[in-house]
């Protein structure tokens, strides 16, 4: 039997199931316990698992990350919530210098099974400091796994996998997707970290997107199919490890690559993906790869301006058209 749940419910359910499965799993963060989370993602968990396992912290992101590190290396499986991913800025050292490098710098003496959940992304009018695609900040830090679910099923399955994972996982929850619905099994499946999903098979162009952009990429693909263009949409689902093989295999068939991302260009995952595929699949390309992304500006507040910043279905579809028109001027 399957059921329809929201992205938000998937996250709550994943945490509850993980806590049910493993006594070592605990959750802490700002307002996650009594209030059930700023986004209500941990609603009911305090009542169900008690104050030992579901804990409110002071407004202290460095302390939250430090607690995750120390408890993970000493045998627990902490889930730490950073309310808005953008707050990673005030605990960047803990994530990038300590958590990511601990195992390496000690020559493998520790494992670090910590999961950090971060509220990510734009589209909800929170302006420039509460809307960023923060996963991009951590791409250049070896030692972190980076997970970016786009559907309720992936949010559930990847969060369960993240909590079981022996390595530190940054789990980015897209705020604009909390209310989106999807099908999951009654006992939903785990999703392996590092496996891309071919969301929609196609033959003319490979379109890669995550989170909110995945939804818009699918909508763009549907619009384009009416024009006779067959788009293969792929969601990597995790950026580290990145399933380049699945995307490369698609590219070998379609010979065209478009990436839709909720980020400006430099230092982004899309730019990294393009660079890697250029190096390994150059011969497969019939057109230059195209990145459809945000402007090189902070994310503006006003609705119409934010809408212009975030790639729309139309902009993504137009990117696909331009890519396919390469070498065939109208």
């Amino acid at each position: 039997m399957s059921q329809t749940i929201t992205y938000k419910q998937a996250i709550t359910m994943a945490m509850a199931d993980a806590m049910e499965e493993d006594e070592r799993v605990l959750l802490f963060g700002e307002d996650v316990a009594v209030a059930g989370g700023a986004f209500k993602l941990s609603e009911g968990l305090l009542e169900r698992f008690g104050p030992r396992r579901v804990r409110d912290t002071p407004i202290s992101e460095q302390a939250i990350i430090g607690t995750a590190i120390g408890s993970a290396l000493s045998g627990l499986r902490p889930i730490a919530e950073i309310m808005f991913a953008d707050f990673a800025g005030v605990c960047f050292d803990g994530i990038a210098n300590e958590m990511a490098k601990y195992r390496y710098m000690t020559g493998g003496q520790v494992t670090m099974p910590a999961t950090i959940r971060l509220g990510n992304g734009a589209g909800t009018g929170f302006a420039a400091q509460h809307s960023q695609a923060v996963e991009n900040w951590f791409l250049n830090v070896p030692g972190l796994k980076i997970v970016v679910p786009g559907t309720p099923a992936d949010a559930y399955g990847l969060l369960r996998s993240a909590i079981r994972d022996p390595d530190p996982v940054l789990f980015f929850e897209h705020k604009h997707l909390f209310g989106t619905k999807g099908e999951v099994e009654d006992a939903p499946a785990l999703v392996e970290i590092g496996r891309a999903e071919v969301v929609r098979p196609g033959t003319d162009v490979t379109l890669v997107a995550t989170q909110l952009m995945r939804l818009r990429a699918v909508a763009a693909a549907e619009a384009l199919s009416a024009e006779g263009i067959s788009v293969e949409v792929i969601d990597p689902r995790s950026l580290v490890p990145l399933d380049v093989a699945t995307i490369g295999e698609s590219l070998d068939r379609t010979n065209h690559l478009v990436v839709a991302q909720e980020s400006s260009h430099d230092g982004s995952w899309g730019a990294t993906l393009v660079a890697r595929l250029m190096a390994t699949h150059f011969e497969s390309l019939d057109s230059p790869p195209l990145l459809v992304g945000g402007d090189d500006t902070p994310i503006p507040y006003a609705g119409p301006l934010e809408e212009l910043w975030i790639p729309s279905v139309d902009r993504i579809a137009d990117g696909v058209r331009r890519t396919l028109a390469y070498g065939h001027p109208a």
């Binding site: 202290s60 120390g70 000493s74 902490p78 300590e98 195992r103 020559g107």
Partner: protein, 329 residues
């Protein structure tokens, strides 16, 4: 807790044999650090190295108040603390020399000595980074219903970084079994404490976290041991964290390249008079230990350090493939 009476250098309630072992440990650390100094001069230590001669009583006195299963985190000036917690001399040298058999397989170096097998969970070179991390190790003990304690060493300068505030506040609000030990050696790098910090007694900061704060003579190993033991007992009993400020002095500069020219004339000499090893030895002799016994300990410590260094020098370099290991489990 209150400030202890003037230095005595021995602990009344600890068997002398045990205190002789403290002497051995301090002597080993002193010889170890002196060898590191020489190795650096010979170009065998990469990067930088931060030595702790003069501060041994804080590290040894505190670590001897812990069980091996208790955890300890320290700074880049951490050779002494990691050895005091029980790491082997040869593998510590091996790490500093970048050898395969070094404590961290040559991936950490002088600033990052770690030996999980003895509870030395890390040496941290980003100021303040470990103060929040010990919240987690302490939480594990509390969570599992065990009575282990986490001890955290850091410098006077480290009390001015934000992580100090977040960590002490949360340790207190969660009543975590942590003992925060500030090694106040009067300088943060080249800056005297008074130029960076508007109060003189760093232990006073404990008041704003609702935890006990105590200032002690960090060169008197008996006082250090007794103070830490009572803070540890408090933590084990579930009564929460303590901040201990141990007054001490580093005999050398901040790091290998620092001649410490900023010190006022006579300051080093005055502190050398209060060398913790000399104080402890003198007190042991006053308590009835034969001087020859202390001398034998010193000679043995020197020989053990020399032999450990020889072993470490003979070890292989890490294999090229090892650089790719341990990124993920």
């Amino acid at each position: 807790m209150s400030t202890k009476p003037p230095a005595t250098g021995v602990a009344a309630d600890i068997p002398l044999e045990e205190q002789l072992d403290w002497l051995r440990s301090m002597q080993e650390i002193r010889f170890f650090e002196e060898e590191c100094h020489r190795l650096f001069a010979r170009g065998l230590v990469r990067g930088s190295t931060h030595l702790a001669q003069g501060q041994e009583a804080v590290n040894v006195g505190a670590c001897r108040a812990l069980r091996v299963t208790d955890t300890m985190a320290c700074t880049y000036r951490g050779h002494a603390a990691v050895l005091a917690k029980g790491a082997p001399l040869d593998r510590a040298f091996g790490e500093i020399l970048g050898k395969a058999e070094g404590l961290c397989g040559g991936k950490g170096g002088s600033m990052h000595l770690t030996d999980m097998s003895v509870g030395a969970i890390g040496s941290f070179a980003i100021i303040g980074a470990h103060l929040p991390i010990v919240l987690g190790t302490a939480l594990t003990e509390q969570y599992e219903g065990r009575d282990g304690v986490s001890l955290c060493f850091f410098g006077d300068g480290s009390t001015n970084i934000g992580a100090f505030h977040e960590a002490l506040n949360m340790a207190s609000i969660w009543k975590l079994p942590v003992v925060y030990v500030c090694e106040n050696n009067l300088y943060g790098e080249y800056s005297p404490l008074a130029t960076t910090t508007p109060i003189e007694r760093l232990a006073d900061r404990a008041a704003s976290y609702g935890m006990p704060g105590v200032t002690i003579d960090g060169n008197d190993i008996g006082v250090v041991h007794e103070t830490i033991a009572s803070a540890v007992a408090r933590a084990r009993a579930g009564e929460g964290p303590t901040l201990v400020e141990a007054l001490t002095y580093r005999h050398k500069g901040h790091s290998r390249s620092d001649p410490a020219a900023y010190r006022p004339e006579g300051e080093l000499e005055a502190w050398m008079e209060r060398d913790p090893i000399v104080l402890h030895e003198r007190a042991l002799i006053e308590a009835g230990v034969e001087q020859s016994r202390c001398e034998a300990i010193r000679t043995q410590a020197e020989a053990d350090v020399t032999a450990a260094l020889e072993r470490a020098m003979s070890w292989a370099e890490p294999s090229p493939e090892s650089r790719l290991e341990h990124v993920f489990a």
